[in-house]
């Protein structure tokens, strides 16, 4: 059996390791186009904070990890997939054959059409190559403008602030993290950032970028030595053109990670898979989804019929010391009830969304202990019974609700 995996990120690497556990004899190859050993984008902020060296971003600590598992990690870029011939064509002219193919090519930053966004003083923060540019350009005291305060933007914000730069952040949406949290929590984050010396502009776009900085739609001028964009990402599907593999927001897959084309699977940021919360198919570009996908896709590729329960969208942020998180249907469902605790003076917020007596989503700010229980309650669809009413009155009694509704007490 010849397994070929395109993309050496967390989804591809997890799939390769799982395949090796399931099949000692198979040929397993990962082909990835980045020059570094397989690494984790998620660790980049900590590189920018000087908490780790580049090696600390590597997905696997030991240099001979892949060789020991007889997983061949090759550098190269796939240009085309010939599904009928079970082959992929590479940029360097070569080609590779496969019996079973996993597309795990992740996503790439998208840039809005702002004049000057291609300038030499502008970079995204997505790859180790980007990180090196930022390390060189964003020194203590440098003036930096960050465009985008979504989830990734807010993580980058934290890293930049820790570098001691003079930071301004521009978010076109009405609030920070508009797709992760509601107005109360988003507003709290903004006030917190401002109180820590970061200038935050929300509800306004950038009209142009030049060598000296950024001009906003209302002509506000922000001088900058470096401009960093975090304006969303898009699945890497370009090379699938002509392959017959169906693509929407990402590669369309079923509950077994199969695409519409025989022997071709997809996983991670590139895949539009089942959403646990909605039952629809969506791209959840987060690390836990990438590794879950990689794991379960590999089970299916090896012949086990493992049906995916869907990914739960979830995020956690540390914004200059203020913790926040979101889970599932944080924005609620039609006909569902909602419990809320809003204590802006204490920098605390907790919002629970119910569907009947089940928790389906949550947002929290300033919650630091037992946060994962929110995932547990949502993902096991625990009927809360009388605890629903108790949580409506006091949403902080989450752990008790969990313990009381499971076997533990």
């Amino acid at each position: 059996m010849q397994y070929l995996i395109i993309g050496a990120g967390p989804a591809g690497v997890t799939a390769a390791e799982t395949l090796r556990r399931l099949d000692a004899d198979a040929t397993i190859r990962i082909i990835g186009d980045e020059p570094e050993p397989p690494y984790s984008r998620m660790a980049i902020p900590y590189l920018l904070m000087d908490n780790i060296a580049e090696q600390g971003t590597h997905l696997r600590e030991h240099g001979n990890h892949f060789a020991d598992l007889r997983i061949d990690v090759t550098r190269g870029r796939v240009e085309q997939v010939d599904a009928a011939g079970h082959r992929v064509r590479l940029q360097d002219g070569g080609s590779l054959s496969y019996d079973s193919l996993l597309i795990a090519t992740g996503s790439s930053p998208v840039h809005p059409p702002i004049p000057g966004i291609d300038g030499p003083n502008v970079t995204s923060c997505w790859t180790l190559a980007d990180a090196r540019r930022i390390l060189a350009g964003a020194r203590s005291g440098s003036r930096v403008v960050l465009i985008g305060a979504g989830f990734i933007g807010s993580i980058v914000l934290e890293a930049l602030a820790q570098r001691g730069v003079q930071l301004s952040v521009v978010e076109q949406g009405e609030r920070m993290v508009p797709r992760m949290m509601g107005p109360e929590a988003g507003g709290m984050l903004k006030r917190w950032c401002e109180s820590k010396g970061v200038s935050v502009y929300t509800g306004i776009g950038v009209s142009s970028i030049d060598a000296g900085g950024v001009t906003l739609a209302d002509d506000t001028r922000l001088e900058a030595d470096l401009v960093i964009t975090a304006t969303g990402v898009k699945s890497n599907v370009g090379f699938l053109e002509g392959s017959g593999v169906k693509v929407d927001q990402g590669v369309l897959i079923d509950r077994h990670f199969r695409t519409n084309v025989a022997d071709v699977y997809a996983a991670g940021d590139v895949a539009q898979g089942l959403d646990f919360s909605t039952g629809d198919y969506a791209v959840h570009a987060i690390q836990p989804t990438a590794t879950d996908h990689g794991h379960i896709a590999a089970l299916n590729m090896s012949g086990q019929a493992a049906e995916y329960e869907g990914s739960l969208n979830m995020n956690v942020l540390d914004t200059l010391g203020l913790l926040s998180c979101s889970f599932g249907r944080w924005d609620g469902v039609a006909g569902g009830e909602h419990a809320e605790l809003y204590a802006p003076d204490d920098w605390r917020y907790l919002s629970l969304q119910f569907d009947g007596d089940r928790l389906v989503g949550a947002n929290a700010v300033g919650l630091s202990q037992h946060v994962g229980i929110l995932r547990g309650l949502i993902q096991r669809r625990t009927p809360l019974g009388e605890w629903k009413e108790r949580l409506m009155r006091d949403p902080t009694r989450l752990m008790e609700a969990y313990l009381a509704t499971t076997q533990v007490i």
């Binding site: 998620m42 908490n51 997905l59 696997r60 836990p288 379960i296 630091s368 929110l374 993902q379 752990m399």
Partner: protein, 156 residues
């Protein structure tokens, strides 16, 4: 043979010796807020529930970690945070569906139960044997874990 913490909430009197012992063992201070095991109080029912990581087989925390900072202690099977690798990203704290990995803002890393390398301080400290360290093939543990993990496996 692998062993595991067995918790019997009915025997717990809420004395918090386990929290004291844990925080002392791990951080050198008697401070329940630093404890990896936590006793929850049900005021109305007058009951208590000590609660910590079950070292679950799925190890959601470990799978979610982007930098291999959660590793398995070969001797005990515990999922252990390797401080030197942990970048403090907190993804494990939302990935663990039992809420048993917590962020420590002082160290910038996460903390969880590591079974104290095979001699858990909480079990030694518990005066009522509500927390015991037992053979992991004792069926009660399997049942507890199986229940805790059912419907969370990611696959149907």
């Amino acid at each position: 043979m692998q062993r595991a913490l067995h918790i019997d909430p009915k025997k717990c009197t809420g004395c918090l010796q386990c929290e004291m012992a844990c925080s002392y063992e791990k951080d050198g201070v008697f401070n329940p807020s630093k404890s990896r095991i936590k006793v929850f109080t049900f005021h109305h029912e007058g009951r208590f529930a000590p609660y910590t990581c079950t070292q679950c087989a799925e190890a959601w925390c470990q799978k979610a970690c982007p930098v291999e900072a959660i590793q398995i202690d070969a001797a005990t099977g515990a999922k252990v945070i390797v401080d030197a690798r942990c970048v403090g990203c907190k993804v494990c704290t939302i990935a663990c569906p039992f809420g048993t990995v917590n962020y420590n803002s002082v160290t910038g890393k996460v903390i969880k139960c590591d079974l104290c390398g095979g001699d858990p301080a909480c079990a030694s400290a518990c005066p009522t044997a509500a927390i015991t360290y037992v053979d992991a093939d004792w069926t009660g543990i399997d049942k507890m874990r199986a229940y805790a993990e059912q419907s969370l496996a990611g696959t149907a």
